[in-house]
């Protein structure tokens, strides 16, 4: 613990000294030559008079001015990242205080220190914010948006986003105006209705950055998360429209009915236009990814560039950039992921997480610093009225809308859900930046607004952010359930979908399911065929899902198999009894190799539904990989240790093997712990592989070796099942292995030399 405090204090000192030179070059650009630099920034001798005596050749010179800007930016980013590091090292701290709070506090601290030292403060440059800091966060959110829950709740989300924000803005604006009138002090005298409405439209928008930052740490169940988060994303359109609308009105001075009507029209244009722009760029990205099979290295670049272009293009026309970004990410994802290589996918994922994490850190720090920078105009009435009204309007809005929405929902929102949705409506940096953008001439009360907004942001982030976690525990809100997506669930979920569509057809009911089904079929028959290269375009979702599971198992096998263990020579088979026809499922090494080929060729198993969308997902995956490494080691040990006599029981025992036990006992991160266990049972099958030159009486056709390894799953599984066709073979069937005791020695004696060659070949190809 002492170490941590030491680290923190070092970081703080570092930060302060780092910010001093940074701070001395505030957001605007003073002329460096005129700027009173601290003595440690000397210039090169630029203006040496020509008649001075010849000076010695300067061996070491310091030239700071030319690298000043990049140096300072890099320094800021470095310090922010170090802070993040420090924050997570302290174990208990991060579970009590959400990261956003800490970052704001650090920003405050830094700002205070800079001010004390008399330097000018770097303020949150709105251009920087909107064009550089915000897009990565939104893209990260949009790209990894869980489509299924989002789509299922889209109606609710839209209602909350549009109607809710409108209600918040108007209610708060009107009441605030009333308060200002009543209060009657000189400070509030200049605040008219339009200004109030403008202010409240800025202050009432739920902020995606803040929501993400806080909600990710509390792991509530999917529905609530997607409701609040989806609302924060979609209300951008409303906010943009209202902001521009009221700004225009305030500057024009009067409002006619036509203007109001145009405002409504503007909303639709902004929202739908944004989505359209995003979708177009998304399709472009998908098309481009079709042709990248020869230049895999720049694949991630296309994803980022197209998305960013979508955002910028939308901003050009004052459309909703956020919606464009979301639409782009959502549209391009299924196609791009089917086309790009595994490594590109990993790159994209990690880059997005990295950038968004960094952006978030910087935003909160800058928020803190800007708070110290001011200028502030504090008015108790206004500020407290703002906070109270924010809360009040949010609660009323959510309650009222839920009452109305629940009539149309199948899964109703309970009171607890409503509370969390209302309480989770955090405001953040977007509100602040929008307030900052107000022009001071038209809005003389800009400082007042700024102060109030900052207070609201602080209040929501600190008070609501910190208390939401204990409240969630107190109210026993359902937590995120373990995503133990099994094949069976997948099969039956799809089956149920078809059944429901069918029953609706029988009833003559044309609900949204009907149209969704039609859309899905359209997608499958046209879009997928054009946009996805190769045979993946024909792949139904179940296959992709199955591939994904297989892939992980194959990875496991491949890695454990590279220990050079070629001995398992038993005609093992995982078999399930069917009463009359006892069919046998044989897994061979061939299958492993096929699967490894698939690894290389087809990769990108979309983890659309299985990856959680939290920033912390990556951490969990690392832990999982560690688990798997250990599991592999254990498996190898097991394998070496127990030989033939244990083959009968090994697979069954492996149910209890370390990974499963580990998965069961590890509490806390419940997201994916149990998945390895589900996956473990099946790879058992593949590890006990049998060479193709299996005992002759097995009836397995030697055509397996003859099979040229095809590049598709179909081929791989063909070999798998091809071996399973030997129905007349061995009637008795065990759970995981079909072992005939007498066969053992015979099998051991023919290890199958060509297997080794092929495997080496595989290795080499794999390395590519």
């Amino acid at each position: 613990m002492g170490m941590n405090w030491l680290l923190w204090s070092v970081l703080l000192v570092f930060l302060v000294f780092g910010s001093v030179p940074v701070g001395s070059d505030a957001g605007s650009d003073p002329d460096p030559d005129l700027h009173p630099d601290p003595p440690r920034d000397p210039h090169t001798p630029q203006h040496t008079p020509p008649h001075t005596p010849r000076r010695t050749f300067p061996v070491l010179t310091v030239q700071f001015q030319t690298v000043r800007k990049p140096f300072e930016s890099a320094l800021w980013i470095l310090l922010a990242s170090l802070l993040k590091l420090g924050f997570h090292i302290i174990p208990r701290f991060s579970s009590v205080v959400p990261e956003s709070c800490v970052l704001i506090m650090v920003g405050l601290l830094v700002g205070a220190l800079i001010k004390l030292l008399g330097e000018t403060l770097p303020v949150l440059d709105t251009q920087l914010f909107f064009l550089v800091l915000l897009p990565p966060i939104i893209l990260d959110a949009g790209y990894f948006l869980p489509i299924r829950p989002f789509g299922e709740n889209l109606g609710t989300i839209l209602v909350f986003a549009v109607v809710g924000t409108l209600w918040n803005s108007f209610f708060m604006g009107v009441v605030l105006y009333g308060v200002c009138l009543l209060e009657g002090s000189s400070q509030l005298a200049g605040v008219d209705l339009l200004a109030c409405l403008l202010f409240s439209s800025i202050a009432s928008a739920v902020d995606p950055v803040a929501v993400l930052a806080v909600f990710e740490e509390i792991h509530i169940h999917e529905l609530l998360h997607i409701l609040v988060f989806g609302e924060s994303l979609l209300n951008d359109a409303v906010t943009v429209v209202l902001y521009h609308l009221f700004e225009e009105f305030a500057m024009m001075g009067e409002v006619t009915l036509v203007d109001v009507f145009l405002g409504v029209l503007c909303f639709f244009v902004v929202a739908l236009g944004g989505v359209l722009v995003g979708a177009v760029y998304g399709l472009l990205a998908a098309i481009t990814s079709r042709f990248t099979s020869h230049t895999r290295v720049i694949e991630p670049l296309f994803v980022f560039l197209y998305s960013y272009m979508a955002y910028l293009s939308a901003e050009v026309f004052h459309l909703s950039g956020i919606m464009a970004l979301i639409a782009c990410g959502v549209v391009m994802r299924p196609y791009v992921e089917a086309n790009i290589s595994h490594k590109s996918y990993t790159t994209i994922k990690y880059f997005l997480k990295m950038w968004s994490s960094l952006s978030e850190t910087l935003i909160f720090i800058f928020l803190g610093v800007s708070t110290v920078a001011g200028p502030h105009t504090w008015n108790w009435t206004f500020v407290s009225a703002t906070i109270v009204l924010c809360l009040l309007s949010r609660v009323l809005g959510v309650a009222g809308l839920t009452f109305f929405i629940n009539k149309f929902r199948m899964v109703k929102l309970t009171g607890k859900d409503q509370f969390i949705v209302a309480y989770g409506g955090l405001r953040g940096a977007i509100a602040f930046s929008l307030a900052f953008l107000l022009s001071a001439e038209h809005f003389p009360m800009k400082n007042l607004f700024l102060t109030a907004i900052i207070t609201v942001v602080f209040f929501t982030v600190f008070v609501q952010g910190m208390t939401i976690r204990p409240l969630v525990d107190l109210l026993a809100v359902k937590k995120k359930k373990e995503t133990k997506f099994t094949i069976n669930e997948e099969i039956h979920t799809q089956f149920l979908e078809h059944v429901l569509v069918g029953i609706e057809g029988v009833c003559g009911h044309y609900g949204h399911r009907h149209w969704k089904d039609k859309l899905g079929r359209l997608n499958a028959s046209y879009l997928r065929r054009w946009l996805i290269v190769g045979e993946r375009s024909q792949e139904p979702q179940l296959i992709s899902f199955y591939n994904r599971l297989e892939l992980e198992q194959a990875l496991l096998v491949a890695e454990s198999g590279t220990a050079g263990r070629l001995t398992p020579a038993l005609p093992s088979s995982a078999s399930l009894l069917a009463e009359k026809q006892k069919s046998v499922m044989n897994v061979s090494k061939e299958r492993e190799q096929r699967i490894r080929k698939i690894l290389r060729a087809n990769l990108q198993k979309t983890s659309q539904r299985l990856r959680s969308y939290s920033r912390h997902a990556l951490f969990l995956e690392e832990e999982e990989e560690d688990d798997w490494n250990e599991m592999k080691l254990q498996k190898q040990r097991l394998e070496m240790g127990r030989r033939m006599s244990h083959y009968l029981t090994v697979p069954a025992n492996w149910q209890e093997s370390p990974p499963l036990r580990r998965a069961k006992t590890e509490s806390g991160n419940q997201v994916k712990e149990s998945r390895p266990s589900a996956a473990v049972s099946v790879p058992i099958v593949s590890v006990e592989s049998v060479p193709p030159s299996a005992p002759a009486d097995s009836g397995m056709s030697p055509d397996k070796t003859a099979d040229s390894p095809p590049q598709t799953v179909g081929g791989a599984l063909k070999s798998l099942a091809g071996s399973g066709r030997g129905k007349g073979r061995k009637p008795s069937v065990t759970f995981a292995l079909d072992v005939d005791e007498q066969k053992l020695p015979r099998c051991l004696s023919d290890p199958g030399p060509n297997k080794i060659d092929e495997e080496d070949e595989e290795h080499r190809e794999w390395e590519v």
Partner: protein, 219 residues
């Protein structure tokens, strides 16, 4: 139609409402639909279902249609198939898709869940022996994948096998070497689908059944 007939119908409707839990309006709508499908006859036959155009692209249409003629879904304890069904059976089958009512107790929800899952189970268990065997499961997966062109039978088999393995591992756990996994019983079925909230998803909005917009020409 004399007034006596409609009164009799009303009484029938009331009895049916009691039995299946639909409201009178819903029953009226569904009866209209029934008559439309059966061309005003008293019973529906398989061929009538074949005429529904919306069912054609559905990969599991034959299973859906069979479900209507499966005695196990009629609420009694009988087994077997029938050739034609009346309105009462039609309604009983449809009642499996009623949405969950608001204020149900835990047992009530559990009971409904079992009913709905039983319906699905019966769809898979074609030979009515109480278990879903590997072959039956395989055919389920095959049908699910039948809508896309380039799927080979072996793929479906492999998936079904893996799924079966999973069921065995989840429900039975460790198996002795000589033990054999018979097939998925209803209890196992319930267990593996614990995570999926079937009772919330398996519903159709019946009041929106608008028989006037049913397109006759397309049949």
């Amino acid at each position: 139609m004399g007034s006596s007939q409609s009164a009799q119908e009303e009484q029938e409707y009331r009895a049916l409402a009691e039995r299946t839990g639909f409201s009178l309006d819903q029953i009226r709508n569904l009866h209209k639909r029934f008559k439309h499908l059966s061309h005003d006859e008293e019973t529906l036959r398989k061929e009538d279902f074949d005429e529904i155009s919306d069912l054609t692209p559905n990969p599991i249409r034959s299973q859906i249609i069979d479900a209507f003629f499966d005695k196990r879904n009629f609420g009694g304890n009988e087994v077997g198939r029938v050739q034609e069904i009346g309105f009462r059976e039609f309604l009983t089958v449809m009642s499996h898709f009623r949405p969950l009512r608001q204020n149900l107790t835990e047992e009530g929800i559990e009971r409904i869940r079992r009913e709905k899952l039983r319906f699905l189970f019966n769809m898979h268990d074609k030979d009515s022996d109480g278990t879903i065997t590997l072959d039956e499961y395989r055919s389920v997966v095959e049908e699910l994948l039948s809508s896309s062109a380039a799927i080979e039978i072996e793929t479906a088999t492999a998936i079904a096998d893996a799924a079966m393995l999973e069921v065995a591992s989840v429900t039975v756990g460790e198996m002795a070497p000589g033990q054999v996994y018979e097939g998925i019983t209803f209890e196992h079925f319930l267990e593996i689908l614990k995570g999926v909230e079937i009772e919330a998803k398996m519903h159709v909005r019946f009041l929106n059944v608008d028989t006037t917009t049913v397109r006759c020409g397309k049949l």
